[in-house]
Symmetry: C2
Amino acid sequence: MSRKLQRVAIAGGTHGNEFTGIYLVKKFQRYPNLVRRPSFKTVPLLANPQAFAIQRRYAEKDLNRCFLPTELQASTSTRYEELRAQELYQTLVANPASKVDFILDLHTTTANMGLTVILVNHHPFNLRLAAYLCAANSAVRVYSAYQPGKPLGFLNSLCELGFAIEIGAIAQGTLRADLFQQAEVLIHTLLDYLDAANREVLPPVAPTLTTYQHLKTVDYPKDEHGELLGMIHPHLQDQDYQPLHPGDPLFLTFAGDAIAYTGNSTVYPIFINEAAYYEKGIALCLTERQTLEL
Amino acid sequence: MSRKLQRVAIAGGTHGNEFTGIYLVKKFQRYPNLVRRPSFKTVPLLANPQAFAIQRRYAEKDLNRCFLPTELQASTSTRYEELRAQELYQTLVANPASKVDFILDLHTTTANMGLTVILVNHHPFNLRLAAYLCAANSAVRVYSAYQPGKPLGFLNSLCELGFAIEIGAIAQGTLRADLFQQAEVLIHTLLDYLDAANREVLPPVAPTLTTYQHLKTVDYPKDEHGELLGMIHPHLQDQDYQPLHPGDPLFLTFAGDAIAYTGNSTVYPIFINEAAYYEKGIALCLTERQTLEL
């Protein structure tokens, strides 16, 4: 890292019904000492206050798809989240007085993903930080959503440094103290690392990092009207990050038939049965396990 | 029972984001043979289609609080669920051609309540049926919401016979195949019992029934603005139906302090951390374990 981090954003509530990040941010706003570090300023941020006010993922459009470069400049945007994304762009990127150098974005999922780092790029600093978090807590996994040339539109797209942390399994609109505490510990570990980076006393990390690289999404079985015909197979439910082999069951139809995975290689499913993805036509994401050199 | 059951309603989607009941009802509509019994007609019913269309608990008002006798006759009702309750009253009670004799209402909860029968009265037929279900599946529990003289406004209030089944833990807006299948088996057991009742060949049931009688609800710790100050204590999370003793922890504040249960008798909490109850100011319900003679 060529220059020191000045400001670090911790965002929660990019989705208004993901309470863990929201109440962590509110806690950090109430007790700023907790996230204060000597070498940078920490900015806790409620990303989508309108969605939180109505206790839903979003008011008009998923905010975490609104950060595409073309949309951030568009003068034709009218929806709440499009305008909010532009506002966050102004605050976190364009305005020198409030610009941040690192964004941590806190999310939750109904899938059994534990604590997952979600990379939107493979910047060496992010990879080493992810490796450090994995070493600090062996339950941490790293999912890479990065696909060269394909913009994602995530809040994290605003900043080269940083990533999201996905916390689960937890129902939307609820808090679980165990996951709240695990996430909080991880955030402190992360802030300490950033502070060590600024002071150029970075701890060593492992030479490699295991990542789960995004391959594709799989939709539920549906009829010709788009009506759901089945659900995640009981053998697959909660088995995020476990190997899925060709022939293993993916779905159980309401008629009682199993539908198998027909790919020809072993993959690692994640976001299995995420509530917010029913409307997106995503029953699960398939990933490939990779080892990256650091 | 003095007269035979003619029509039995199976309602799902009284809350539009509780998918298990909704897709069980859709399955029964698609495959009516599954719920056909020789001695009565089974009517699968999507109770709140508008709420399901928007994938929310309700459109304007919780439908399952709209069945108070005074509201069913009110000519001043304007909200969707108030009108829908009146429509369901006409269909299920007032119209002799569609009137039902028994209502099973299917719900889900984010609390770890397994399969819970929710009684709105202590009609001997309902108690014996509940006892039969407990014998058929030892995981079934019976919660009595019945408080003499206090109308509840539940869909089940429309009919003396019948009750709700609460299924959990499951996130809103998702299906879990294991719970879907357990609920389906229980419904078949129930329909078989109703058919046996009509044929006067009822199987014997145990002489007593263990119920969890509603005592009161407990709200989260909040500040003077109604802002949440804590969450369910990790020791209590998922411990529905387990004894809570005076002094046991109820909550963990965001500041890290435990808040204990200060009652003076052992109680049995349920609906612990139900997502839909955050807005109702309910963190959990306290119940008393009772043994009813049948």
